[in-house]
Symmetry: C2
Subunit: 565 residues, 2 copies
């Protein structure tokens, strides 16, 4: 019969590595079957429970308390193991080595005055304070720590941006600057592909695939997973895109993130277009509106993003030239205004809704979707609206809009009368069974709507050269009315997205591009292994022997913080 | 000053074409500015309102009442217009032509006894009854009508399937059988590409694009937009796939639909694999798990689906041979059991969740998503579970699982002890900063878990040949433990989906494939223009001069229906 013994050590700060080492050392002691040394968060207590290491004593502990648990063959073995905890904690905590270790950022910067970077991997509740101090001292940040609040993230990033400095993170696991990996990073060939990633393992997977495909990476800038959230507004991603735009070694850019909300999607893709370089975009789980829109190339998986980037890098010069300011031709097409989609074809309506919901907000429809808003009054459009006018509710005692154009002709006039409308998206489906001359009724309505103002019409025509309506003359009639006509939906949607994604100027002041070419010199605060890996890669780093202010006591820390301000 | 006059005609049945003609005729009368002739549904009343045609009288009318509205320059002109309604209704209603027109299905089948098809486009509330009668008489159905309940759809489809017959619809706008378009259809070259579509304009767009690309269509089977809903279970789609599998003229199949729920996705894709032919799948707005899984090719847009199909058709013979029973190699890998994903990399976890949520239900996770369920207790997995073990809540006072394998080693043992688990999905991320030998700790845990039973492990390794851990030996250690190892996530996920999508046998009894090769002979009930377009295409059709039973009176109809049973 095993014996379980638990010790609770209230409050204070314990280094994660020290705890891992403590747990391993306890488990190795004679007569000990298993051991745990964790902070008493709900998740950690549940994990102890799953390993049969949870006791009544542990139930009382709170998230700031340390739990040390041993399960041993005998009472004596358990008692003996716990008696060694103090000794093991001290041994683990020394960090080993004979080097001089600065204990403050100030003294670290005396050792390494040319440092440009601070790597911060302290526990989350201390990280914002450490990061503020590093910004005070003019450093750029690689902020590995997680459990940092979004308010702290916004404050740190705004402040850094105002000074032309970079905050990668919080919760940024990886970056590659001038060939040197920060945090977790794979060793990859240097080359002409730059990355901006709000996804840590996304950055690692893509850069590894690029390497395997024979390509190489110029720099890979991590942003932290929350950078593209609405509150943060992609501040680091936009700085990163701007840096890679100005970096002469980068010819192709890859942007990877979870799908952002529409306003951020527009601004970050606008910043991507503003780079003047081809950008491969991979938004995880995002159904791309097209495979390519101007200089933006949409990938659907991590390996595909790498493959596309390597392929583009092979012919980068030519592509860049062809893609510069892809919207220059019809200058000023990107006027504002709401979009109104008036569809006869249900699939075309649905596919348009799915593709455009990532860019339009608020988006209303009579079709359902997770971010789609219902129409408050059926006939009146609101904000951006996409309607399936062939849906059941519109065809009671009424012919389908593929046969009867009356409803759409009236609707075009109604939408055109709304001064907030900037673009009307229509379909026109030819073939047997459909109206014998739909363009003959819709084109005059379009021409009439455009008579008073410069309203853009984008029309997708579905049909073949053998259809009874004569495809060519239907297209010609629509074009004569001033509509932009496309013969597939993807091209029509590309045009719409092209119009929505306006080039966004980079944040000011710019981060000096020399930051990317200068040798990496860094102060490391937190996980010692990150210092070692910088040294292994030939970068200069000094490890700060960091301890939390006030020994990690929250109340005392708050008082110190107030005094500091 | 205009005068608005409204007449309400309660109850009864009015043909949609008659109403369109009535409205146009009224609007053409001298002194009339605008007119409306619509059933008084909320949507139609709102549309009248938007056109300035709504009056107080109309507010009182219900959905079964006809509203006739004129806006005229003078009182006299309005009165005169309304006085002509009866005459116009009669004129419109005759349908013109001198041919004999059968007034019942029985007499129609005397005219055309070899008819195999009924095209039904009556108003929705009458359609199920008409469809039942057509099935009684041994016909296959093209059911254009919308506003049919899902209960009626299920009943019709189950009954037809039990007799080896096909119900395309309800709300099926289009089909192409042996080169003849039903309903709305584009004229396209015949060829080797067959379509099964729950999306009407999807079918039209893809077949038109196939034609434009120089390819051709064998048959295109519409299913109605709701066929892949959970209640209907893709009955028509599965019959359609089976028909095209047995059709010697079809070499490549395209399947297009809105994304189905996971159980239907598995069964319809299982049926697709069962065809033994390459199938291009386009689920609208669906992020495909891979570009290709065995014989399934995933497209991300309508034009891309067409392009992929044409490309596959060019080399169809070779592809078909290579793809037959693509899972034969490791026979029996598709055993059941829940999936547990235990990820160190957040992006890999997130990308897996997004790709697999379309196939797994219920799916639990500590990550959020619209169909994702939270975990009830943090550490215990439930049903299918995918965990990001590097998330904030797991790293308080604890090293990241890329550095410390302890949590995952424990978790592997815990999941393996659950007899309902069939597959464990892991990642292993190499590089600077990560654990120096993760496979050295995870591989023994995998081997131990597999000692007692045949538990499948799928591992994705992210790393390069220059990483300090030595990629090749990490992969070898994992493979020695019995895991299937992949060096990119897409391949790993393809393996998982491959295992989930088991070949599904076709519904029995089969629909006779001769239905596709026989000349199209049909009875048309509803929209006369569909008869005309069949005739234009050289098919034989008889138009039934249909009127609703009991003149469309709901109460009388219900009594008749009860008497009929």
């Amino acid at each position: 019969m095993s014996v379980l013994k638990t010790e609770v050590r209230p409050g204070g700060y314990y280094d994660s590595i020290v705890l891992m080492q403590l747990q391993a050392a306890l488990a190795d002691l004679p007569g000990v079957e298993d051991a745990g040394a964790v902070m008493a968060t709900p998740e950690n207590r549940a994990l102890l429970e799953a390993s049969g290491l949870m006791s009544d004593v542990a139930v009382e502990a709170g998230p700031a308390d340390l739990l040390v648990v041993v399960r041993a063959e005998t009472e004596d073995a358990a008692t003996d193991a716990l008696s060694r905890v103090d000794g093991l904690l001290v041994r683990g905590g020394t960090g080993g080595g004979d080097d001089y270790r600065p204990r403050s950022l100030e003294s670290a910067l005396k050792v390494l005055p040319e440092a440009r970077w601070a790597l911060v991997s302290t526990p989350g509740r201390f990280a914002a304070g450490v990061a503020r101090e590093a910004l005070d001292r003019g450093l750029n940040l690689f902020l590995y720590s997680d459990n940092v609040t979004v308010e702290d993230e916004v404050a740190l990033k705004r402040r850094a941006a105002a000074d032309g400095r970079l905050v990668m993170g919080p919760d940024c696991g990886t970056a590659l600057i001038a060939g040197v990996g920060f945090g977790f990073a794979n060793r990859v060939r240097r080359g002409s592909i730059g990355l901006v990633a709000a996804s840590g393992t996304g950055l690692q997977a893509i850069s590894s695939h690029v390497h395997a495909l024979g390509g190489g990476v110029s720099h890979a800038i991590g942003t932290g997973g929350r950078d593209l959230a609405e509150e943060v507004g992609a501040l680091t991603a936009r700085q990163g895109l701007d840096l890679l735009a100005r970096d002469p070694g980068t010819e192709v850019i890859v942007l990877v993130s979870k799908p952002p909300v529409p306003s951020v999607a527009r601004s970050v893709l606008g910043a991507a277009r503003g780079t003047g370089k081809p950008v491969v975009v991979h938004f995880l789980g995002f159904a791309p509106p097209a495979r390519r829109i101007g200089s933006l190339y949409f990938a659907t998986s991590l390996p595909e993003a790498a493959w596309m980037a390597v392929d583009l890098a092979k012919s980068a010069g030519a592509v860049v030239d062809a893609e510069k300011d892809p919207r220059g031709e019809d200058g000023g097409a990107s006027a504002g205004g709401y979009l109104r989609g008036l569809f006869a074809g249900g699939t075309l309506a649905s596919e348009s809704l799915l593709a455009l919901k990532n860019f339009l907000d608020p988006l209303h429809s009579n079709m359902k979707g997770d971010t789609i808003r219902p129409l408050e009054a059926v006939p009146r459009s609101e904000f951006h609206t996409i309607l399936d006018l062939g849906a059941d509710e519109y065809t009671v005692g009424r012919l389908h809009p593929m046969i009867d154009n009356d409803m759409r002709v009236r609707r075009i006039a109604q939408e055109a009368a709304d001064p907030e409308v900037g673009l009307i998206l229509l379909d026109l489906v030819l073939g047997d069974g459909a109206h014998p001359d739909p363009a003959g009724e819709l084109a005059p309505a379009i021409a009439e709507a455009r008579r008073s103002r410069d309203l853009e019409f984008v029309v997708v025509v579905v049909g073949t050269d053998e259809d009874p309506q004569d495809l060519a003359s239907q297209v010609a009639a629509l074009e004569d009315s001033g509509a932009l006509v496309f013969e597939d939906l993807t091209s029509a949607l590309s045009r719409v997205v092209d119009r929505l994604v306006e080039v966004v100027p980079p944040p000011l002041p710019p981060v000096e591009v020399e930051l990317l070419s200068a040798p990496v010199v860094a102060v490391n605060i937190g996980l010692e292994s990150f210092s070692e890996s910088l040294a292994d890669q030939g970068a200069q780093a000094v490890h700060l022997d960091w301890n939390p202010p006030a020994g990690g006591d929250d109340q005392l820390m708050a008082i110190l913080e107030r005094m500091r301000r």
